[in-house]
């Protein structure tokens, strides 16, 4: 979990030129860090490569739009880390 968070925090800092110190597990990528959808494509690309997964961004967006999920579930970084860990585990299963 912590290493996953460290990896995505470093990716966000490098991709979006955000000071690493300002990125915490409680940070919301959109609401707190101001990352827009285009920048998030770069982040998703880097995460996909780093973890060998495919973040289901379209599915998540649909769930949020349908009111079945909140953005917190996917875009608060500790939750994003947990989702990534799940995807990595599912890949290895």
């Amino acid at each position: 979990m912590s290493s996953t968070f460290e990896t995505i925090a470093n990716i966000i800092a490098e991709t979006c030129d955000i000071p690493r110190d300002s990125i915490t597990p409680e940070s919301h990528a959109i609401n707190d860090l101001g990352i827009d959808s285009l920048d998030f494509l770069d982040i998703a690309f880097a995460i996909d490569k780093a973890f060998g997964i495919k973040l289901p961004l379209e599915q998540w967006t649909q769930e949020v739009n349908d009111g079945k999920a909140t953005t917190d579930q996917y875009f608060v970084l500790k939750n994003l880390s947990a989702r990534i860990d799940e995807l990595v585990a599912a890949k290895g299963a």
């Binding site: 285009l38 494509l41 998703a44 690309f45 973040l55 289901p56 379209e58």
Partner: protein
């Protein structure tokens, strides 16, 4: 190439989904209103149209990878380098490789050369989404037929 209509690809030379690569060809027209301004007395193909040429080539690869069910739209251009001038009448060889297929986006690396000499290259990000309407889908399929989209890739569903 029909620059004014943004029809920048003349034909698909090769499309290999197993290698995630595509090659296209395009001949720069000898006359165009664009050359009247870019530049008077010294016509050059604008760099932005070279980027668009790489984007369209990448786009056909992504269309093929999505079995003509989704449409790519240019979202980002990175590391674009223009190494030499492109002049009227030049025959361009365009290639693109699919680096990554994400959820709702794709990343390609594309390049243009002429007679083996590199012209330009870039890394492109494309948003990939359902066709906005049936008219656009039909237009894309007509374009595909025009440039020789290979029949083994199901262009007609």
């Amino acid at each position: 190439m029909r620059l004014e209509y943004f029809q920048l690809i003349d034909r698909i030379v090769e499309l290999r989904l197993d290698d995630r690569t595509i090659s296209t060809e395009a001949t720069v027209p000898t006359t165009s209103t664009i050359f009247e301004g870019h530049f008077p007395g010294y016509p050059l193909m604008p760099g932005v149209l070279l980027v668009e040429t790489m984007a369209q080539t990448s786009g056909w690869l992504v269309v093929a990878a999505n079995r003509f069910e989704r449409m790519p739209f240019l979202a980002a251009v990175k590391d674009a380098k223009f190494r030499t001038f492109v002049t009227p009448g030049m025959v361009l060889a365009v290639t693109a490789t699919l680096l990554h297929e994400g959820s709702g986006y794709a990343v390609t690396k594309a390049s243009i050369s002429t007679k083996g000499k590199p012209i330009c290259d870039a890394v492109l990000t494309l948003r990939v989404m359902p066709f906005p309407n049936e008219e656009m889908s039909q237009q894309m399929r007509a374009q595909a037929d025009r440039i020789g989209f290979p029949s083994e890739v199901p262009a007609h569903g």
